[in-house]
Symmetry: C2
Subunit: 330 residues, 2 copies
């Protein structure tokens, strides 16, 4: 499902907040705020992630000199059971809200829906936000971190980070030019400690369909950006494109590979989580697009649609990728 907007909506404002590990990474200085307290002043990790998401949404408003009452719709999501970081993060908000879920591809689902609401004039200012938190994710998906379990080399570190954008009808750069809604791809990977391998075919499916259906090519973009394939998933993506005689490696970036320094930080295959693509986009990519340092990116966040319950039942990992074309020009 490919759509180019006749009247591309604008990203008016954006904000990214991270935790201490994200602050120590290569993009640390680009974040709007780094919070060294993994609890964000709260008493549980789930409350911490809710607070992280709340603060990030508030900061996106503040940067645009908007009051929360200026926002007519929030579209939010996260990885927690029943998406509670979103529900509890905006519990005190008086704004209409839609919950969305596409695992770590949720950020681009939010971007494309916010773009639709604004391009068609249904809303004037829509805030899209996603978050993830290393500690809330570890105890939900794997083990309480206190167990000190050994992690496989293929694993990724769930980012303690959130990104928020405020989308408006066409106004100024950067613009959301179009999107491709992904379909579920399941190549039978059952190793929940190797999500990059599970997600790479979904990223390939969405990106190659985007190029085929749009008539555009990888060369149309400064960067093809995936969400959180990590080192292993990125290599698999290159191999999948190589079968078509296409080399995307020179212009490919992966948010999961950008967020941490593998030499200095113990993150194995890279970063992941709803907050990974969101924070790297809001901290690093959108400022470059706004200033015109890069003109066009195709952002394909990637999600592993697994649950621990179904992994324990031996199921493979269905994956998905939603892509959004972001541009300096309308």
């Amino acid at each position: 499902m490919l759509k180019f907007f006749d009247t591309p909506p604008s990203i008016l404002s954006y904000a990214a907040i991270g935790g201490s590990s994200e602050g120590e990474g290569p993009l640390g200085n680009h974040f709007d705020d780094i919070n060294e307290d993994e609890y964000f002043g709260k008493t549980t990790y789930e409350q911490a992630e809710s607070e992280l998401q709340r603060q990030t949404a508030a900061l996106a408003c503040e940067k645009a000199k908007l009051d929360s009452s200026d926002i007519d719709l929030i579209i939010g999501g996260d990885l927690l059971n029943q998406c509670v970081a979103t529900s509890f993060g905006h519990r005190d908000s008086a704004t209409s809200i839609l919950g969305i879920y596409s695992a770590c591809s949720t950020f681009t689902e939010g971007l494309l829906l916010a773009g639709m609401f604004c391009s068609f004039g249904v809303t004037q200012k829509t805030l899209a936000v996603t978050s993830s938190h290393f500690y809330s994710a570890e105890r939900q998906y794997r083990m309480p971190i206190e167990y000190g379990g050994q992690r496989a080399p293929t694993t990724q570190r769930t980012a303690t980070a959130a990104g928020a954008v405020i989308v408006t009808p066409k106004e100024k750069a950067p613009y959301i030019r179009g999107f491709k809604i992904g379909r579920i791809v399941d190549m039978g990977v059952t190793d929940a400690a190797n999500m990059g391998a599970a997600m790479a075919p979904a990223a390939y499916d969405t990106l190659s369909s985007f190029f085929n259906e749009s008539g555009m090519s990888p060369e149309s973009f400064d960067h093809i950006v995936t969400g959180d394939l990590g080192q292993i998933g990125s290599q698999l993506l290159y191999k999948l494109f190589e079968r078509d005689g296409v080399d995307i490696s020179s212009r490919h970036l992966d948010c999961g590979c950008m967020l941490y320094d593998p030499e200095r930080q113990d993150v194995h295959s890279g970063g992941s989580g709803c907050g990974c693509a969101a924070s790297v986009s809001c901290a690093y990519l959108l400022p470059k697009l706004e200033r015109g340092e890069i003109k066009n990116i195709l952002l394909a966040a990637t999600g592993a649609l697994m649950s621990p319950t179904l992994t324990q039942q031996g199921e493979s990992i269905p994956s998905i990728s939603h892509a959004v074309w972001l541009s300096h020009d309308a």
Copy 2:
């Protein structure tokens, strides 16, 4: 966030499938299919719910004489951790898919988004589907059913049911005339065994805002339909409206109260779950609207945005309600 469509999209087709308890209820004969096997031919309850959702989506296509390849977008949601009934239910589909989550209000979120995609011509045939399953919900939210735990009189029974609609640009009755996206309301209810009480204020907030902002009144509708407030939540809703001097009781229906017979079935306060409002709408309300036996309903599905993790941390239950105006006339 209130929106009336300039060109109201149509609901081209709809289908509802239920389990044995739903088949024994007052609406049993209205369902397209009742499956006596709680496993739906699979080996786990989570797989069963995925299969239920898959079958219901397929049946909605079949009733419209459409092939699954005619559908250009699926919008789906459920209550399971990481929304896996949706992801696994459509794992073998080649159709683009967006995951959504608003607890038991997910059906109306799907309806309004599908309406937007079709009204603005972004898609031609969008399928919106939600499901729930008594046994998958019990072991996730409460206890494995084998424990035989006693249930409080305020509890509701999660429906084993799914409803699917296929939305198209304006074509024929019934039509989606407009919608109101709800905001989160949390009145401090911490009893996860009394979700009707937690959700009633959210239904009141959305419905009363709809009337205030639209200039319409309860008399504009044949029925004001809530999702799953149950007996207790419905009484609370009447009390909240009474403060405004408004009596909605004569035209109010609640899907949770309609799905089971409290005299014959041990469902305490009524039914609940993403599949409750979805199946009652698709089995009973949409046919009446299509035939013109009723002209207008305001369907306000209701969701308790709780998770067991946060309930165990002593948190109260944020709730939400998204309303959709469905009509025989465009």
